[in-house]
Each structure stands twice: as C-alpha cells, then as structure tokens.
Symmetry: none
Subunit: 404 residues, 2 copies
C-alpha cells in the first residue's frame, strides 16, 4: 500500500526539520556463528546511545526477499514507491556523471568495442582502454560526428570503455533495443525500434553509430560503439511537490547526487571525507531547508569488496561524528541504510536494514544498540522502506489529521 499518496494530501509546509543519515549498505549478516554482523562487531557507543533514546525498527526497503539497487533503495527512503517510480539504466548512467537531463531526453549506455575487418566484435570492452584514451576518443567523436536531423546529441566520458550517449529533440522515444549482441564473434545489432513511435529515433541513432564508426576507423582498439539501456527521461515529481519539503543532499558519489537532483533537492559540493559531510551539514543547517540527506558510500563499497573489518571501521568512524548531529537538535533524526551489503555476500542483499528515529515525539523502546537484531525488537517493528517518510513527516508535525 502506497500511503505516500495520502501524505501528499495531508502534508503542510510548516513543521520541524528532518535529517536522514543513509549509511549505504550498512546492514549485514554474521561473519560466522560466534562473530556478529558488521554493526554488532563495531564499537559504536554514540549510535548505541542514540538508539537507546530513539524508536527503533527494521526497514524492508523494497519488499520481502527483494534486494534493492541503489536507485530504488533511495527512492524508497524518500517516500517514492520504488515499484511505481522506476529509474531506467540509461537515466541512471546519466545521473552517474551528473549530466543535466531534460524532459524527453533519450539517454543510453555506451561501450567502446573492438571489431575486426568483417565487422565482427572481437572485444566488447575494447581491451578496457584507459580513461585518457576514453576522453580522447569521446572528444574526437564530438568534433567529427554531425547528424542530418534536427536533434542535439551529447556524448560524455564515463570511464575505461564506458561512455554516455544522450539524444535531445522533439518526439523521441526510448523504446529501442540494445545494439550490443552481448557476445563476441557477431556483428553489432542495428538500432531497432521496439515500437512504432521509436522508428524515427532508431534512424537517428543508427546514423550516429555509422558516423561514429567512420570516425573511429583508425583506432586500434576502440573502433566501434555498442549502445544499450535506451531510456526516456520523464522527470519525477519533486520532494517539494509531493511532501512540501525543501531538501538538500550531502553526498560524494554522482549516483546519489543524481537521484537527489531527480527529485528536486539542492546539491552541496562533494565532500570527500566523513567529517566534511558533518561540517557541510552544520554549515547548511538553516531555515532554507527542511530535509537533509547525508550519504555515506564506504559502508557499501567495503561490503561489496568483502572487507568485513573495513566496513566495521567505516561504521566506527561515522559513529565518532554522531554527537555533532545531536547538537543540531533536529525535530527528526533518522539513521538507516538503503539496503544491506553483507561483507560475507560481497553484494547488496535483501536483509532488512536497522533504523532509528530520534524525535521529541518518538517513544523510546528497550533497544539500546544499533544493529539488526537489537532493532528487530524495537517499537517501529518491521516496515516497508517507503513508509519511513510518513513517520518522518509525522514526527516533524507536518501531516494534518486524516478525516474529521
């Protein structure tokens, strides 16, 4: 049940401030039977103290057994039903390089590839060319490829063999099949429309590919491009439109900055170390914003690397900064994750994520530790991630009564 549609109707613009700290992938599973999860092993006196003074629980971010990607994970925490608001791969790629998408844009992922004289693919990643080569080739294409159609194209470096293609113009469509056949020994597929209205777009894309190929003829490795994940950019309703929240994002990685921008949050300059995030939060904390999203990536990346002790260490570093948050004294302070990333699994997982909600109106439960097992006994129970926004709005006294 998507209660956010009700929140939209009940919300008022006045109310307290909400800070949400997202420790990306913070949830884990025990390393072994006698060693606990990353959060259980970490020495986190400040988070434990905060849990003791908060309402605690577990969030099932997308649904039972479902492992969230980063996009759905964050949309859910922001009160956007991740089953309804799905971000495609092309749009995600554009977000990842902070490309300014406009409504109606058609973005796609690009791989540089190697083809032989017969045009068969011999390497789908062009020998993983380095970033410098990538930039040089991208520049070469931008300078030399002109299209006969009344459209604008963008071609941007990502890294290694990857780039971003965006088509901008009237009446475009993202209903195009990948040109990457996913195997070597075959020719790249033509740009194929999957619906009638995409036929025009397919012609433009094919011309772009043909001309890029001409320009790349003299390249040794990256002499072809493969496109996939075609998408159509339809802006999401903003956090302000939906919940009357003026939001600001404090995050380092483009992907999370991109999702925040997608829903109309302002972005602060990229903080590189953990302390900087808290400093940035303190500096921006004012009447200008109602909703402060602070993102920490390293919990997830150390989990993905299978680095259990590294993840523990990052959690402990974040813990040291928690007292600074307390001093800001927001009406609502939430600490949680967008999904679990157990170091044992080296990947995102479906396990529910601990959450604490600190507020003058939140009932303190018996939970006095911030971890999966302790929070499972909290008064917030086990909930859907997308319902967290309702609690945040309620505890910041931003929701009117439902019915008389």
């Amino acid at each position: 049940m998507d209660y956010a549609e009700i929140y939209e109707k009940l919300v008022r613009p006045e109310g307290g401030k909400i800070i949400i700290l997202v420790l990306d992938g913070v949830g884990g599973i025990p390393k072994s039977d006698d060693i606990g999860t990353e959060l259980q092993v970490a020495h986190i006196p400040n988070l434990d103290k905060l849990a003791e003074e908060s309402s605690c629980g577990l969030l099932e971010i997308v649904g039972p057994g479902i492992t969230p990607g980063s996009g759905p994970g964050h949309l859910s925490l922001f009160g956007y039903n991740p089953l309804k608001y799905q971000i495609g791969r092309g749009v995600l790629s554009a977000l990842g390089v902070e490309f300014d998408l406009e409504k109606g844009d058609v973005p796609a992922r690009v791989n540089f590839a190697t083809i032989d004289k017969e045009g068969k693919i011999t390497d789908r990643r062009a020998g993983r060319i380095d970033d410098e080569t990538n930039k040089r080739i991208v520049q070469k294409i931008k300078e030399n490829v002109k299209l006969d159609y009344d459209v604008q194209y963008f071609f941007e470096t990502v890294k290694e063999h990857r780039a971003l293609f965006v088509l901008r113009g009237k009446d475009l469509s993202g209903d195009l099949a990948d040109t990457d056949p996913q195997v070597v020994g075959e020719s790249p597929l033509p740009a194929k429309a999957l619906t009638k209205k995409a036929e025009h777009t397919a012609k433009i894309v094919q011309q772009f590919i043909d001309r890029a190929r001409e320009v790349l003829t003299d390249e040794e490795k990256a002499n072809m491009i493969l496109l996939r994940g075609f998408d159509y950019y339809e802006p999401l309703p903003s956090l302000y439109e939906r919940f009357k929240l003026r939001g600001v994002c404090i995050a380092e990685y483009p992907m999370y900055r991109g999702v925040s921008k997608l829903i109309g949050m302002d972005l602060l300059p990229q903080p590189s170390i953990i302390e900087d995030r808290f400093k940035a939060l303190e500096d921006v904390y004012s009447d200008k914003y109602d909703f402060y999203f602070v993102h920490f990536k390293k919990t997830d990346s150390s989990g993905e690397d299978g680095n259990f002790s590294g993840k523990v260490k990052v959690i402990e570093e974040i813990d040291k900064q928690i007292p600074r948050l307390r001093k800001l004294n927001p009406e609502v302070l939430i600490i949680t994750g967008d999904h679990s990333t157990p170091a044992v699994l080296k990947s995102h997982s479906w396990h529910p994520v601990p959450v604490l909600l600190h507020s003058p109106t939140a009932i303190r439960d018996d939970v006095d530790e911030f971890n999966e097992l302790a929070c499972s006994k909290g008064i917030l129970g086990l909930r859907l991630g997308m319902h967290l926004m309702g609690l945040a709005l309620a505890h910041s006294l931003r929701l009117n009564k439902f019915g008389a």
Copy 2:
C-alpha cells in the same frame, strides 16, 4: 501487496535447494492459562535447536483475522496470492480424489439423497450410506447413464454419501446454481444457469440428473443426486513458470497432493507414516528438484478432533526426525504450518503460525524455542504467508537485484 509478481521478474533458474515442512494446522492456543499451546507443551529438542540456529517469525497466512482453508493456506505458502488464486469447491473436490482435471472441465460436488414419492427430499445425505454402497451406485450410474450431447462425463466415488461429477467438453461453463435446496421437505432445484453462456451446460447437467434419477429409482436410500459447488477449471501458472522452481510433493492426503499438482509439482508415492516422508525426501533429494514440499496431516486432524495431547504427540514424533533434515543440508530449510488448528477450538483458526527459516544467509535471532510466543520475537517479524516464498527464493540466492 503481491510481491510475487516482482519475484517472477527477478528470479533466475540457478540457486540452492529449498525444503519446506508443513505441519498442517500446527499453531494452537493455550489449553488453559497454566498449560501452553500444543507446541509449548511438546518436548521438541530438535525443533528448538533448529529455531535457535534460524531466523524465526510468525506468518499470517491469508490476512489478519482470516482463517485459511487448506487450499488458500498452501497456495499462500507457495507464493500464490490466495486472494487472487482462488480454488473453487468443485475443483477442490476433484483434487481430493486425485482426479485429473483438464482445462475447461466443470466439476461439482455430489450428495446422494433420499426423495419420497412426491419427489420431496427426506434425507439430504441418503442416510449416510456406506462406502461400499456408494461405489456400487456410482458404478450403476456410470454404466447406465448416457447423454445425448457431445460431452464426456465422469462420476467418481468420494465416500459415504459423497461423489464427484465432472463434465468435459467444448464451451462449458461453471456458472450454475446448486441443485441442493439445503433443506428437507422440498424438491431438488433444477440445474439453473447463472449466466447466459451457462445455459447449454445447464441443459446437459439437467439431463444427467434426470437420467441418474431414473437409474436410481429402485434404490431404497440413495435414489437421488444433489449437485453443488459447480466450478470451471482454469489451470494455475506453475511453480516453474512463476519462480523457476522444479518442485516435488511428499504428502499422503489427496487434497495436498492435488494442490501441488495444480501448480506443476511432481508427486511421490503416498507415504503413510511420518518416517516414510523423511525417507522419501532423502531418496528424492537430488539435482532433479529445487523445491521439496513435505506435508504432515496429523497435527491438523488431531487439532480438529480436539485431541490436544494427540497433537502434542504428533509434533514430538516429527521432532525426532528433524536431525535427518539437517544432514541433507539444504540452502533453505523452512518449518511452518498452513494455518493454526488449536485443539481447544477443534477447527482451523486465524492465529498466525510460527515459522523458522534456516539458511547460511539467515541471521540467527534470540529465539531458541519453536512455538507461537517465542517466534513472535524473531527477526522475521509478523509477515504475510505469501511473502515467505520471497524469503525462500532470496536465501537460496535465486533472485536478481531490483533496479540498478
């Protein structure tokens, strides 16, 4: 929310094995304030130990306060939304005698009845004739009743005064009213179409009833048939189609075998004693199957009989075999029920059912007993029964990530 539609999109055919033990109606309520539930009273060291090493919780099989029938109870555990996939009474009856339904069949329940010379019903159950008489009369009808239509009919013994009628042919409909008026002193009702498209079927059914009545004229007690629960058989999508699971069913009772067959599981020969089920599981455990459903009926039937100590004893017998399961070492081992059947109530009930999920990727919680109260404190929380399949698929590493 029916997440199973998401599971269908995320599922992959590779992954670990899943064993689910269904102790039919295992949940109970306390016999009195100082005596616990059947599970609390039972001495079940092996189940308790397993609970200690598992994630535990409670399943609300259909929904809050809803007492599940056996069909919805099992469909829910298999990940089929019981509100969407409803099995009609006619189809259930057919399953109960392991009748091989085909798409488009119209099954109905039959009661033999007694009518007087004026055709008024004097006994709706024909004095509960014995099984032998039933079989004789069924045979008599099959030999002597021919229909003028281009259809095939089946008429099968169930037991006592009950039988099964199935009509097979083109363009049939199950939209027919019962011919059983539910009271004595009245005449059986004519076969009445409830929709226009059922009119043809109503004529055929009426001819069958008329001719059966002629054939039964010389019977003392069972001289009439009453039909009810007309149904139309539309096959369900299989467990493989939905979740890429190759399933096998180890169950004694036709009803549970029937539901399993309905969703494409293979059936093993009927095991009569508890040990035989475990033996059958050990024998069939191989790369041929991914999903092993083992069913125990006696927990439910002793509950239905109000036999508290009998139910305790059955639970204890099952407990003794649990170590055999552990040796198979499946990636996911689930023990639960399809509903509660408290001996105190002598019937199915709505009380949530304890569940344990044992897996290398499952977080052990503090629960160290397998019963209603203990499991209510587990990390799985209180969940809808139909979401269990999502956890089973996730823990057997069969679900891809949702979104990027």
